[in-house]
């Protein structure tokens, strides 16, 4: 019963996540940008813009310039999460890709780094009066949701030890439309329940900053309005 519930939830959540994010990206892509609004100094070539974006996404360059604490916690969280997600590929691949196996030991510590980053962000949100002022309930809940996912995950790794082979069979089964029973340990159900929640709210929340950063005209446009006349109609996807 629980297995069926979670299976259905995961199917629904996956569809909502993929369709929701795709629709948003489609909308951003198709919304014209009427004028050149490059934030300068900026690269004067498309290649330069891409390089700048890579630095931005990998190093959080701007955030480093703005505020060292948010940078530190934010970077810890995001890169912890990235490694954790990559490590989780082992539950979806058979045989496990070699580089995913390599990540195994790092991926576990990354879980702690991610958790610590989230705690830092939450403390900052509560302690710094400026950030507290701009926070809505959803801003705290989002952090708590991620903390819950991290905490339940770490619990399974280091305390509860559920049957990971069965969990993997469940997910591989999901991908092949062949449902296998899901272990019903509490940490597993909590962890997966929270993940489903996150997947569902992703496209309708501020988590859309992840794809959104690639559509912020101030950073994605090339600084060349004198060299090349900017005509908005032809600027779709710019």
């Amino acid at each position: 019963m629980i297995t069926m519930l979670y299976a259905v939830l995961f199917y629904i959540a996956t569809i909502l996540l993929v369709v929701g994010v795709a629709r948003r990206i489609w909308t951003y892509w198709n919304t014209p940008q009427p004028l050149k609004i490059v934030l300068t100094p900026a690269p004067t070539t498309r290649r330069g813009v891409v390089l700048r974006m890579v630095r931005e996404v990998v190093l959080f360059e701007t955030l480093f310039k703005s505020n060292k604490w948010i940078w530190l916690f934010g970077w810890m969280f995001h890169f912890g999460l990235l490694l954790v997600l990559l490590r989780h590929l082992r539950y979806f691949t058979q045989p496990i890709w070699w580089w995913v196996s390599l990540l195994q030991p790092i991926g576990i510590y990354a879980g702690f780094v991610m958790f610590a980053g989230l705690v830092g962000l939450l403390i900052r949100r509560i302690v710094v009066n400026r950030v507290r002022y701009i926070s809505a309930p959803s801003d705290y809940l989002m952090l708590l949701l991620l903390l819950g996912i991290g905490f339940s995950g770490l619990m399974m790794k280091f305390v509860a030890h559920p049957d990971v082979v069965a969990i993997k069979a469940f997910f591989i089964g999901l991908m092949r439309f062949d449902i296998h029973p899901l272990p019903t340990d509490l940490p597993v159900l909590v962890h997966l329940g929270l993940v489903v929640t996150l997947m569902i709210i992703f496209p309708i929340s501020k988590l859309m900053h992840a794809p959104g950063i690639f559509f912020a005209p101030s950073r994605t446009m090339v600084d060349n309005p004198r060299e090349k006349r900017y005509v908005p109609a032809s600027a779709k996807g710019q």
Binding site: T31, I37, T40, E56, I134, D139, I201
Partner: protein
């Protein structure tokens, strides 16, 4: 405690840290509101004269229209993750402590409404995501706080995902205009450009007479017949400069500088009485339509005068419009000489002449000044000069260093891309907003205090008409002389020895220090 370690790039004791975060005081600036435009001024710009009965529907419809037609607006409203990186970066927040002047909080005034009517979460769980109904109170808040933003983009420099509050401010003002709530200062001035050709309402006859007087003054002073041609067909260069350059101090000394440089470079040039304004307040109110009307005037003037090049004088937002938008909204400019940048900045021209060696410069003629340079926000963060990114910082400094001996930088974190706004940009340069102007100017003034103390700096130089007017007003408020703000081209003018120049024995004539027009009614007084 978390704060201290990070926010203070400059730790000093004697002078106040220009970037120090203020004590947060909710509601401190709630009463700050500019005068509203009269109905006829709104109607002239294509907006309803006053608040219609169905204002709420109209406002929401306009918001929806912007979300569909303006990617920046849509993406910026959707993607802010409330990280707080921008919260201590706005000069109006630093100066006032009002939390609604924190960039993200300013955006949220509009974002809350957007969420309520255009997002799933806001429609069904408004409390959870901070979504709010559009009410008259919200509209009032918009009018107040979106006129406490100078659209200077300093916050955008620090946003990890590239959100630019200026775009939100422009959109908010546009929505307000669409329900008949216009700002007197900006809307009146735009109308004046449409009628007369410039912000000041200076008609062609008066303009020609003023320029003729100026030619006489230059000749009296130097013995050289430097021309300031108006409406001269067949000239090579059309100079578009802020109309403040035609009469206000220190702007006019800059204009004299351009004229001398053109004279020495041996080029033919003219100003146009039809397009006698570089400023484009259409940008301030976020109205592409009105911005386009003013841009088209420049194209028309260029065609009618048969010029080959367009050069812009010292003006901040005007250079943003010229550099980024003119080609889109006022173009194409395929009839101009394509070998020159379209448009070109006067500093690019002067720097080119300095490099070529056509100007005979005696730096010591500026030795009475110890100078620092204020990067104007729109030039720094919304444009470029020269071919390389950052040329907008280097070229003005290069020119300054080429014509003066005593140059000093203000503290890091207050210059170049992180420059502090003068506090009067974005349509705030009006007497009815004097309080917020002063608060917004204070970080820059504290930075100036530091270099005054460290290096004995006596004067600050700027290349924006709004900066110049604002600082002329602010300097005395912070213990500086009113005339301690200068134009770059004023210094070029001082140092330049033209061919055949015979210096008149200069007895200090103090009448130049009087600036009658600048303290007058907002419509003329600081119209940039």
């Amino acid at each position: 405690m978390v704060e201290l370690a990070i926010d203070n790039k400059i730790s000093r004791t004697s002078v106040e840290d220009p970037l120090a975060p203020p004590c947060m005081t909710p509601g401190a600036m709630a009463g700050s509101k500019p005068y509203m435009a009269a109905p006829e001024h709104n109607i002239k710009l294509g907006f309803p004269g006053e608040l219609p009965d169905d204002w709420k529907e109209k406002a929401i419809a306009r918001m929806g229209y912007l979300a569909e037609t303006n990617r920046a607006f849509k993406v910026y409203l959707d993607t802010c993750m409330k990280c707080g990186a921008c919260t201590d970066k706005c000069h109006y927040y630093m100066g006032s402590g009002d939390p609604k002047n924190m960039p993200v909080a300013r955006q949220d005034l509009l974002r809350g409404v957007y969420r309520r009517y255009f997002t799933f979460a806001g429609k069904y769980f408004p409390k959870l995501v901070g979504a709010v109904d559009l009410t008259k109170e919200v509209l009032d808040d918009w009018y107040s706080y979106y006129h406490q933003c100078s659209e200077c983009r300093r916050c955008a420099v620090f946003c990890p995902i590239g959100i630019d509050t200026a775009e939100i401010t422009m959109a908010a003002r546009d929505i307000l205009d669409h329900v008949g709530i216009g700002q007197k200062y900006s809307n009146e001035i735009i109308g004046k450009v449409m009628d007369v050709g410039n912000n000041l309402g200076l008609n062609p006859k008066a303009l020609k007479a003023t320029m003729a007087d100026l030619e006489e003054d230059i000749e009296d002073e130097t013995g050289v017949a430097v021309r300031i041609p108006v409406d001269e067909k067949g000239a090579d260069i059309l100079l578009i400069t802020p109309s403040a350059d035609f009469f206000a101090e220190p702007h006019i000394d800059g204009l004299i500088g351009y004229a001398k440089v053109f004279h020495e470079a041996g080029v033919s040039w003219t100003v146009s009485s039809y397009a006698s304004e570089a400023a484009n307040f259409g940008m301030f109110i976020g109205s592409e339509e009105n911005m386009a009307v003013l841009c088209k005037r420049i194209q028309k003037a260029a065609i009618e005068l048969g010029v080959k090049r367009i050069i812009f004088g010292e003006c901040g937002h005007a250079w943003r419009v010229a550099y980024n938008f003119l080609n889109t909204l006022g173009g194409p400019f395929d009839f101009l000489d394509q070998d020159y940048p379209i448009p070109q900045h006067i500093l690019e021209f002067t720097w080119g002449e300095l490099q070529k060696g056509t100007l005979n410069i005696d730096k010591s003629r500026n030795d009475e000044y110890r100078l620092t340079y204020h990067d104007s926000c729109n030039v720094a963060r919304a444009s470029r000069m020269g071919d390389e990114p950052g040329g907008q910082f280097e070229i003005p400094r290069n020119v300054l260093k080429a014509v003066t001996n005593n140059y000093f930088e203000m503290p890091e974190g207050t210059t170049k891309e992180q420059t502090l706004c003068c506090g009067g940009g974005g349509g705030l340069l009006t007497d009815d907003l004097m309080d917020i102007r002063k608060k917004g100017a204070s970080p820059r003034m504290h930075a100036l205090k530091q270099v005054e103390e460290d290096h004995g700096v006596t004067h600050m130089v700027a290349i924006c008409a709004i900066c110049k007017t604002q600082f002329a007003k602010m300097m005395p408020e912070f213990g500086f002389e009113r005339d301690s703000i200068l134009s770059v081209h004023q210094l070029v003018s001082n140092a330049l020895i033209m061919e055949g120049q015979v210096d008149e024995d200069d007895d200090e004539d103090d009448d130049m220090d009087d600036v009658p027009a600048m303290s007058g009614a907002p419509a003329t007084g600081g119209s940039l």
